[in-house]
Symmetry: C2
Subunit: 355 residues, 2 copies
DNA sequence: TTGTAAGCGTTATCAC
DNA sequence: GTGATAACGCTTACAA
């Protein structure tokens, strides 16, 4: 069996308390003793039993991370970052997939709490849940902070992206490049925070006096999920949808996509149709997926600063764990437009501008 | 504070042991009592403290998952699957990123063990570590199973992919489609299990009497990692590399890529150069990434059956946790070639075959 | 069928 | 400075 402080105490012919204190560098213990104990502990390969420790002081140095579909890149990037940050802070991460469903989220949260997490970070929005539902269901007994792409409409600790701002920047940037006929492509999949992405588009277009209400939106079929949660698109349908769009909007010079996957899809379809990007049409994505960096052309996209969000959320959580309060607090993280090669000056303007 | 069995016992004017047993449905307890206790527990919102339970019976119902770069799709898919399977089995998952480095792996493993995981699943190979190093470093005190793409050269519980078999299938399939000039593209990045992928290629080519030794291999620059572990490619270099290849290998009709990312990259570059896939050149990937399903054309690829691997690994782990033994055991999971549109009969043959 | 009491490995509160 | 001793919340012989 594993070595315990008791074993060490026995060998050293001292008491458990002394060993315990010495190992934690208690200044009350003589320096010599501390040294002796630590040496012995090392020799015997002692490793503290964090469970026992947790039982007495009520802290496990573990946080729980609840998230919908781990396989999504934004999710796994978040998780990776959280793992790193938590580790630096001496915390472990217990993760659980919620499939983005409220009841599973609640269930898993209770699981994790029972397992003794000190705090909870929950990622995902629950679009079909009512505020009342959230209020009652999500009444957790440990400090909790929500993260995601939309504001949760209830008093809680949360950090979320301002998704609109990046879209606005994108529209502004396109405008300055001479674009006037700008459209937004989207796939209305479940749990997707579309409204905030749309609203940025609406606003920015309106500000410029451009046509960008609902008419500026162009919908794609969302495909379907396989049993592992991977989303598959019906590329033939999407292809013809893009084709149709081009026919019906011959004057469109720029396309904003509601997410990078769609943007990459559309990009490849355009290229196949002989439409040059960005010479003929500029394309912009949303999310900041890694793959946008090496598409051809590399995709301009609105990036969600995941690291910043995770940092903020973790700090918030640490804080409320320390003070054991869970007072409502909100932090907004701005998204930002990242310029790459897929967006360019419109041709018309190019021809007008002399070399 | 949280409700404990003691609180319930007090209210019911009975003993803690009765409550404890009743809650766990011990047949020794009168059915009426059980009912009464459970009802009371429910009413008081009792939730068992798994930590306390763990302290006494030495089991936390938690497993640890160690893995390199969480952000990779294969990794996150593995994690997602593991989370689901574990939950079904009543287990939680404590995850930690190892960056694919041996010392961090060891460190994290000890962390997790201290936190009380009942077992460990470790993903990742350690190409630069010697067998001796692994032997000494990886001497864990809890049941452990390794998973990954290569066989660990030491006695342990492991399940790994037979990566060669899928490559062979791919080559066979291409051969049957009339391809003779088949080449393999690869990026030699750290920790990548290239040899097994290569060996499948070598063997299959040799079996068919085709030129497929080292000369059949064509190397791409591996790009670089950002601080988050995302890999970025220098697309311009890759592009010109592909171009150069086409010039120097005008008779090549099929390209096998060592991973899907590379395949998708090459695919887009070929399309941009006006090379039609699959009409002019067939392309095959490796991994089974989701994105291969909706590239244009959808990519034929060698898929790694992640679900199968995780299932196997979990079962193995459960087994050795139950019997508390850690006897060496190996399971091999075959990869398999998945046919999609990116590979097709060679043109020559097409012309010969009458309509 | 139920209750008593010991113990899991640690920390914390007292005395000494 | 150090050592008993009582928690922490639960399980499990052993008694009753």
């Amino acid at each position: 069996m594993a070595v315990t402080i008791y074993d060490i105490a026995e060998v050293l012919e001292t008491s458990r308390s002394t060993v315990s204190r010495a190992l934690r560098n208690d200044s009350k213990i003589a320096l010599a003793t501390r040294k002796r104990v630590k040496k012995q502990a090392l020799e015997m390969g002692y490793r503290p039993n964090l469970l026992a420790r947790a039982l007495v002081n009520g802290k496990t140095q573990t946080i729980g991370f609840l998230t919908g579909s781990v396989i999504l890149e934004v999710t796994s990037a978040t998780m990776a970052k959280l793992g790193d940050i938590a580790r630096e802070g001496g915390y472990g991460v217990h993760m659980a997939d919620t499939k983005g469903e409220l009841d599973l989220t609640v269930k898993q949260a209770h699981e994790l709490i029972a397992r003794g997490v000190d705090g909870l970070i929950i990622r995902g929005c629950f679009p079909e849940a009512t505020v009342e539902q959230l209020q009652t269901e999500l009444d957790f007994s440990v400090p909790t902070v929500f993260i995601g792409g939309v504001r949760m409409p209830l008093p809680c600790q949360q950090v979320y992206y301002d998704q609109a701002i990046g879209v606005k920047q994108a529209v502004d940037s396109l405008y300055e490049l001479g674009h006037r006929q700008i459209h937004m492509f989207f796939m209305p999949w479940k749990g997707w925070e579309k409204e905030t992405r749309f609203s940025g588009f609406y606003e920015a277009m309106a500000e410029r006096g451009l046509d960008g209400g609902r008419e500026g939106l162009y919908e794609f079929p969302p495909g379907h999920l396989d049993e592992d949660g991977h989303r598959f698109f019906d590329i033939d349908v999407c292809f013809s949808r893009t084709k149709k769009f081009l026919k019906s909007h011959p004057d469109c010079t720029a396309i904003l996509c509601s997410d990078d996957k769609l943007a990459l899809l559309v990009l490849s379809h355009l290229v196949h149709m002989g439409v040059r990007v960005p010479e003929d049409i500029s394309v912009v994505g949303f999310d900041g997926m890694a793959a946008t960096a090496y598409s051809l052309p590399p995709l301009s996209t609105v990036v969600l600063p995941i690291g910043e969000m995770v940092h903020t959320a973790f700090d918030l959580l640490m804080d409320s764990m320390k003070n054991n309060n869970n007072q409502p607090k909100e932090v907004v993280i701005p998204s930002k437009f990242l310029v790459r090669r897929s967006a360019e000056q419109v041709r018309i303007r190019k021809e007008v501008t002399p070399g």
